[in-house]
């Protein structure tokens, strides 16, 4: 495993790019929802957490980044603090772990990974809402499927754009 991970390139980004993109994703998520509830189908914070998790390939960084983004998302949402923090922290950790083991540069692999991460994220949210908040939350719906497909497609293009922020 160690020998394999050494062959996988760890990408670094320009100073402030990670934080800036994360903030921008959070702001855009809140901002777009202001104009139309239809933008709620997007999960931009999740997209950037997955992207940076897959790129940095450091599970600690992925965990911290995901948790931070999730907590901030909780902070500006009407959800208990920690709900998105747990879910996104977990996704950041998993994405970093997978990024350290698999080639995540290809658009198809990115699409599939994003699709899976979206549903894992949703399952985690539903579990916590059911177990901790005693609220009903679906694990899977057609709307979620459409949302996951859409976010996966957007992710492919977004990841390609964010690749330009990498240090050469």
């Amino acid at each position: 495993m160690d020998s394999q991970s050494q062959h996988i390139e760890v990408h670094k980004f320009y100073a402030g790019a990670v934080l800036g993109i994360c903030f921008l994703a959070l702001v855009l998520q809140a901002f777009l929802n202001r104009f139309s509830p239809r933008f709620g189908i997007l999960e931009l914070p999740l997209l950037v957490v997955v992207y940076f998790g897959l790129s940095r390939r450091n599970s600690v960084i992925g965990l911290v980044l995901g948790t931070a983004v999730g907590l901030l998302q909780d902070g500006i949402s009407h959800t208990p603090i920690g709900l998105y923090g747990i879910a996104k922290g977990f996704i950041g950790y998993i994405a970093s772990s997978i990024g350290a083991r698999l080639d995540t540069e290809h658009p198809i692999s990115r699409f599939i990974l994003m699709f899976l991460f979206f549903h894992i994220h949703q399952v985690l949210l539903a579990l916590m809402m059911r177990l901790l908040l005693a609220q009903h939350a679906p694990f899977f719906t057609v709307h979620l499927l459409i949302s996951s497909l859409l976010n996966s497609v957007i992710g492919v293009f977004l990841f390609a754009g964010l690749d330009r922020l990498r240090k050469q």
């Binding site: 903030f23 702001v27 902070g75 603090i81 747990i86 772990s97």
Partner: protein, 339 residues
């Protein structure tokens, strides 16, 4: 207890998740919010949101205030062009409608006086100097137009042909200084002469100073000038000026001389062949067809002045004023046909 380095991330994950689960439990159990995190989140993100809102509002203003207005401007230009075209068409239609009304009036007048030979003509020009009041019409000698023929509209007297050219004719308007028309006041049948002044208003002369002339009284042709048939409207009294032995009466022309477009030329000389009364026949100019219009009018005026204006006649005025039209004019009113 030391955690192996390869397991440290996993331990950290568990710790972070556990901490957040506890945080969630705390919030649920105590029904209290973690205000600090919300404040920090809001403080961190809302400035960006505010900036985004500012940018969007500005972009929105730029879009709707400028970029989107490009289409509005083009649309406005197109609408303005359409409006201009429609205004032009509307003016053309209004002109055609007004022309139709005028022509209908001319036709009605022509039909009402079917026994009078008359010819419709179009005004094609006006005089080139400021002192005379003439217009040109599109009928000339080849159309049968002759000098001194009366030119009228259904509204009233316009003038007379002063020059008959081969294809056009010059009309001396009643407002010209050299113009004169034998007239009478419709109410009292008092005779006088209406003269042009060069101004829009006419003067009616040779009306006795003690004759009471009410304002607004209609002035008609008397037929005594042998140019205009009797009882054609000339105008109406605008004002009177005292004088001796005659008062001067200002008359507003009935015909719209300032906007003439179509006129009628009375092409008969026969209908105007007035049989003068014996006492009025003293002047040979009255019956001379070659006499100048001014002379004609003056002649009639002179013949008529004793009937209504001289001091000697004042005593016998009621009889005279009634007698003059009956004696002098034998043609039926408005027709000019001899009887």
């Amino acid at each position: 207890m030391e955690v192996p380095s390869r397991h440290r991330p996993l331990v950290l994950l568990v710790a972070v998740i556990l901490a957040q689960v506890l945080l969630l439990a705390f919030q649920i159990r105590r029904d209290r919010d973690v205000r600090l995190i919300r404040v920090w989140s809001a403080e961190l993100l809302t400035p960006l949101q505010r900036g985004g809102t500012f940018i969007v509002s500005k972009a929105d203003a730029v879009w709707f205030g400028y970029i989107d207005l490009r289409n509005v401007r083009a649309e406005n230009r197109s609408l303005a062009e359409q409006l201009g075209d429609l205004r032009l068409k509307n003016q053309q239609l209004q002109g055609q409608a007004a022309q139709a009304v005028r022509l209908a009036r001319l036709l009605g007048f022509r039909q009402a006086n079917a026994d009078i030979p008359m010819m419709a003509a179009e005004v094609i020009g006006a005089n080139a100097d400021a002192t005379s009041r003439t217009v040109f019409i599109n009928r000339g000698e080849e159309d049968g137009i002759r000098r001194n023929m009366a030119v009228i509209t259904p509204d009233g007297v316009v003038g007379k042909i002063s020059e008959a050219l081969p294809h056009t004719s010059q009309v001396l308007l009643v407002t010209d200084r050299e113009s004169g028309v034998g007239t009478l006041l419709a109410g009292t049948r008092t005779h006088g002469v209406v003269k042009g002044t060069g101004d829009p208003l006419l003067w009616m002369d040779y009306v006795s100073a003690d004759e009471k002339v009410p304002g607004g009284e209609e002035v008609l042709t008397s037929g005594e000038d042998r140019i205009f048939p009797k009882n054609l409207p000339v105008g109406w009294v605008a004002s009177t000026k005292a004088g001796f032995p005659f008062q001067t009466i200002e008359v507003t022309p009935s015909a719209h001389l300032d906007r003439l477009e179509e006129v009628l030329v009375l092409t008969t000389e026969k209908s105007l062949d007035i049989h003068p009364a014996p006492e009025a026949n003293s002047s040979s100019q009255q019956t001379s067809p070659d006499a100048k219009p001014r002379q004609n009018v003056n002649t009639v005026t002179k013949a008529e002045v004793p009937a209504s204006g001289t001091p000697q006649q004042q005593a016998a005025k009621p009889a005279a004023t009634k007698a003059v039209p009956a004696k002098k004019v034998t043609a039926p009113a408005g027709t000019g046909n001899p009887q």
